[in-house]
C-alpha cells in the first residue's frame, strides 16, 4: 500500500488522530524540558554525531574489533548478510537448545528482519515482553511508533484486548491495573523460558559491552534470567569507545522519553560464572546497511539511535501515525532509512511524504539532516523512473520555460489566459488535488517584471 493510501485510512480515523495528537504533544513538551536543562545541548549533539561518524567511517575494522572483544569475554559472534541469514542463525541457536519458546526484549531489528515469523515457521513461539509489543502481538497488529509501538491504541481498546486474549474480563481501563495484568501474564514465562532474545542500543567495540536502554525492566529480565541470550544487532549500532557511551546515554533518554535517564540501562560484557546467561551470542546484521554506507549523501541516516524524537516532532506523523509508512521505521527517519535499506526498490514514495519543514532535523540528537536526505532520496527515486510520467513532463516543461526569459514570459502570458505550464503546474498529481481543499489564486493582469519595465 502506498503512503498516500495508508494516510487516507488514518486521516479518517478520529480516535487514532486524537490518540496521536495527545501522545505526541505530551512527549514533545517533556523532551523540550529535558533538553532545556542541559547546559550545552548543541555540543552534546556534536559529540554524539562525531562518535557515530567515527564508527561508521571505519566500520569494517571496528566490527572486527567488536568481534574480538566479545569473544575474548566469552561470547560468540555471528555475521548475517541479510534478514534471511540472521533468522537462520537465530533459529539454529534456539533449535540447539531444544526450546519451543523464546522471550524477547523489545527490538526493532528483530522486527525488521521478521524474526518472530521465521521462528514460528520452525515451531518456536516468540513471546514479546515489552508491554506495548505484547499489546501489538496479542492484537495481531502492527507497530506504529519506534518507541511506543501501540501509540495508536487507547486504553479502552487495550482493556478489551486483555479481556479477550488474557481471559481477564475483570480489568478496568486503569493503566496500572492493565500493566499489572501484563506483568502476571509475563512473569511465569520470564522465569521458565530458557532462551532470551534482545536487540542492542549500542555495542562498544573496544570492550565488547552491549547496552540495552528500556523503561520497564522486562528487557533486563530477558537478558539476565535465561540460560542463553541471543542479541541481534544492526551493524550500525556500534560505538568505538567506552567513553562514547555516556554521551549517548545523555542524548537518548532525553530525546526519546524526555527523561534524564531511562529507568533500566543494562550493560553486559561476555558471560560470567553464576551470574546471568551461561551462553551469549551476538548476531551482527547487515541487511542493506553497507549499501546505505556506500552512498556518501545518504549514509548519515545510519547515525540514528532510534530515539523517535523526529516522529514526535513531525506534523505529518502527528496526523497520520506510523502505519501509513508501511515500514517498521516510520516518520521522518523511516522515510530516509526504509527506502535505503530496501535499495530504493521499496518505500520509494516515503521520501516524498514530507513537507521538508525541518522540525525533525531540529530535534535529532545525532544531527541527521533529514530534510537534505529526503531531497537526496527524492533525486534517487526520480532517477530510477523509467518512463516520463505527468510529473516528469511538467517538470521538463517548467525547466524549459525557465531557461529563457522570453519563453518564461510567454508562459506567464498564457497563464493569464488560463493556459500553459504555469497555469497547470500545480495540478501535477491527481487532477483537482489542489482544489479539493483550496481555492486557486487568481492570476493578476500584470506580472512584476511587466510592471518593473513600465515604471
Amino acid at each position: 500500500m502506498s503512503f498516500a493510501a495508508g494516510a487516507h485510512d488514518a486521516l479518517g480515523d478520529a480516535q487514532l488522530r486524537a490518540n496521536l495528537r495527545r501522545a505526541t504533544t505530551t512527549i514533545r513538551a517533556r523532551r523540550q524540558d529535558a533538553v532545556d536543562e542541559v547546559d550545552d545541548w548543541e555540543a552534546l549533539r556534536e559529540r554524539g554525531a562525531a562518535a557515530k561518524d567515527r564508527a561508521l567511517h571505519d566500520l569494517a575494522a571496528q566490527l572486527e574489533l567488536l568481534e574480538a572483544s566479545v569473544e575474548r569475554a566469552g561470547g560468540h559472534v555471528h555475521w548475517a548478510r541479510d534478514a534471511e541469514e540472521a533468522c537462520h542463525v537465530v533459529a539454529g541457536l534456539v533449535r540447539a537448545q531444544g526450546a519451543d519458546r523464546v522471550i524477547k526484549a523489545k527490538s526493532l531489528t528483530t522486527d525488521e528482519i521478521g524474526l518472530n515469523e521465521a521462528l514460528a515457521e520452525e515451531g518456536v513461539r516468540a513471546i514479546e515482553t515489552d508491554l506495548a509489543e505484547l499489546i501489538v502481538q496479542l492484537a495481531g497488529d502492527r507497530q506504529s511508533h519506534i518507541l511506543v509501538p501501540a501509540i495508536h491504541r487507547s486504553r479502552a481498546e487495550i482493556r478489551a484486548l486483555f479481556a479477550a486474549e488474557l481471559d481477564r474480563p475483570d480489568l478496568s481501563d486503569d493503566p496500572a491495573e492493565l500493566a499489572e495484568a501484563a506483568r502476571l501474564h509475563l512473569r511465569e514465562r520470564l522465569l521458565t523460558v530458557p532462551v532470551g532474545i534482545s536487540g542492542a542500543n549500542f555495542a562498544v567495540a573496544e570492550t565488547g559491552t552491549i547496552c540495552l536502554v528500556e523503561s520497564e525492566g522486562n528487557g533486563r529480565m530477558c537478558t539476565t534470567l535465561p540460560e542463553v541470550l541471543i542479541t541481534v544487532m544492526g551493524i550500525e549500532k556500534l560505538l568505538p569507545r567506552w567513553e562514547d557511551l555516556p554521551t549517548m546515554l545523555e542524548l537518548l533518554p532525553r530525546s526519546a522519553t524526555g527523561e534524564r535517564m531511562s529507568p533500566y540501562v543494562s550493560l553486559w560484557t561476555g558471560v560470567h560464572e553464576g551470574d546471568g546467561p551461561r551462553e551469549l551470542h551476538l548476531v551482527l546484521v547487515d541487511a542493506g546497511r553497507t549499501d546505505v554506507l556506500a552512498d556518501p549523501a545518504g549514509r548519515d541516516a545510519l547515525r540514528c539511535i532510534r530515539c523517535s524524537a523526529c516522529l514526535n516532532s513531525c506534523p505529518v506523523y502527528e496526523h497520520v501515525g506510523g502505519h501509513a509508512y508501511g515500514s517498521i521505521y516510520p516518520g521522518p527517519i523511516g522515510a530516509v532509512l526504509a527506502p535505503q535499506l530496501a535499495r530504493m526498490e521499496e518505500h520509494a514514495d516515503l521520501p516524498f511524504a514530507s513537507t521538508l519543514c525541518g522540525a525533525c532535523a531540529d530535534v535529532c540528537p545525532v544531527k541527521i539532516d533529514i530534510p537534505a536526505l529526503l531531497v537526496h532520496l527524492r533525486g534517487r527515486a526520480v532517477d530510477r523512473r523509467r518512463r516520463l510520467d505527468p510529473e516528469g513532463l511538467a517538470m521538463a516543461m517548467l525547466g524549459r520555460a525557465f531557461e529563457r526569459p522570453g519563453r518564461y514570459e510567454a508562459a506567464q502570458r498564457a497563464a493569464r489566459r488560463g493556459r500553459g505550464i504555469l497555469a497547470h503546474a500545480w495540478r501535477v498529481g491527481p487532477l483537482g488535488a489542489w482544489t479539493s481543499s483550496r481555492e486557486l489564486p487568481e492570476v493578476p493582469d500584470e506580472s512584476f517584471r511587466a510592471w518593473w519595465r513600465s515604471r
Binding site: 486521516l11 531531497v375 489542489w434
Partner: protein, 242 residues
C-alpha cells in the same frame, strides 16, 4: 546600497504585489533597487522534487545572473534557502566543484527580506503603518534554515497601529511543502485544517508570512472556508503607510 531584487517565479507571476511592496520598502529606506531581468526561477520546485538535472541548470543560471551582485534580496525564505542549502547539495551530488565554489560564495549574499532589513541594514522600523489585527505564520524555511522568524517578528512589531496576535503552535508547518500539497493532498489538507483553525481562533483579519507559497496554500484554504481572513505577505504590510 545597491540591492539586486530576486523575485521568485510564482511571486512574479501570481503575487506581483509582494515584489512591488519589496521595492517600495527598500527604496523608502534610500537604497538603489535593481531587477536583473534575465532571472527566471531558482529551481526550488525541481530540486526539492528530485528533478536534479533541471535544478542544476537553474542553479547555474542563477549564478550567471546574480554572481556579480553584492546584496541579493528576495521576499521568500524558501527560495533563499534553496540557494543557500540546495544549490551546494546539487553541486556536490553532481560533483561540480566549480559550481560548488560559486554557490558557496554566493549563498551568504542572498537574503530573505526581513533578515536583510534587521541583520544587514540594522533596521526594524521601516516607517510602515497598518492598523489591523494581524497574526503571523513563521514559514518553515525562513524559520529553520535562515533563522528569520525573529527578524520577521521584529519588523512587524515596529509597524504602527498593528495589533499582532500570536498564533497557537507557531512553529507548526502549514502543510504546503511544494509538490507535497498535491502528491499528498489529503495530509496537506489535514495540516492546513489545523493551521487554519489556529488562525481563525486568533480573530485576526490578516494572516501574514514571509513566503507567498505558504500563503497561497493557507489563503486558498481560508477562502474555501469563507473564513473572512485575508492573507498578505509581510512586504505588503511593511510597504503600507498612513
Amino acid at each position: 546600497m545597491r540591492i539586486a531584487l530576486f523575485v521568485p517565479c510564482f511571486v512574479d507571476t501570481l503575487f506581483p504585489a509582494t515584489a512591488r511592496a519589496t521595492v517600495t520598502v527598500l527604496e523608502r529606506l534610500g537604497h538603489e533597487v535593481v531587477f536583473p531581468e534575465e532571472q527566471t526561477c531558482c529551481g526550488q520546485v525541481h530540486a526539492n522534487a528530485g528533478h536534479r538535472a533541471q535544478g542544476l541548470r537553474l542553479a547555474r543560471r542563477f549564478v550567471r545572473v546574480f554572481g556579480d551582485e553584492d546584496a541579493i534580496v528576495a521576499p521568500s525564505g524558501s527560495c533563499v534557502a534553496t540557494v543557500r542549502e540546495r544549490y551546494p547539495q546539487l553541486a556536490e551530488e553532481a560533483g561540480d566543484e566549480a559550481l560548488l565554489a560559486d554557490v558557496r560564495a554566493l549563498g551568504p549574499r542572498v537574503h530573505e527580506l526581513a533578515t536583510f532589513l534587521v541583520g544587514v541594514l540594522g533596521v526594524e522600523d521601516v516607517g510602515a503603518s497598518f492598523p489591523h489585527r494581524v497574526t503571523y505564520h513563521a514559514s518553515c524555511h525562513g524559520l529553520r534554515s535562515l533563522g528569520a522568524g525573529d527578524a520577521q517578528l521584529r519588523v512587524l512589531r515596529a509597524v504602527r497601529g498593528i495589533d499582532l496576535v500570536e498564533l497557537e503552535n507557531p512553529t507548526a508547518c502549514c502543510g504546503f511543502g511544494g509538490t507535497f500539497a498535491v502528491k499528498n493532498a489529503e495530509v496537506s489538507t489535514a495540516m492546513l485544517g489545523a493551521k487554519a483553525a489556529d488562525v481563525i481562533t486568533t480573530g485576526a483579519e490578516v494572516c501574514t508570512a514571509g513566503d507567498d507559497s505558504c500563503l497561497m496554500h493557507l489563503g486558498g484554504g481560508l477562502r474555501r472556508l469563507r473564513a473572512g481572513v485575508r492573507t498578505m505577505h509581510i512586504a505588503e504590510i511593511l510597504a503600507s503607510t498612513r
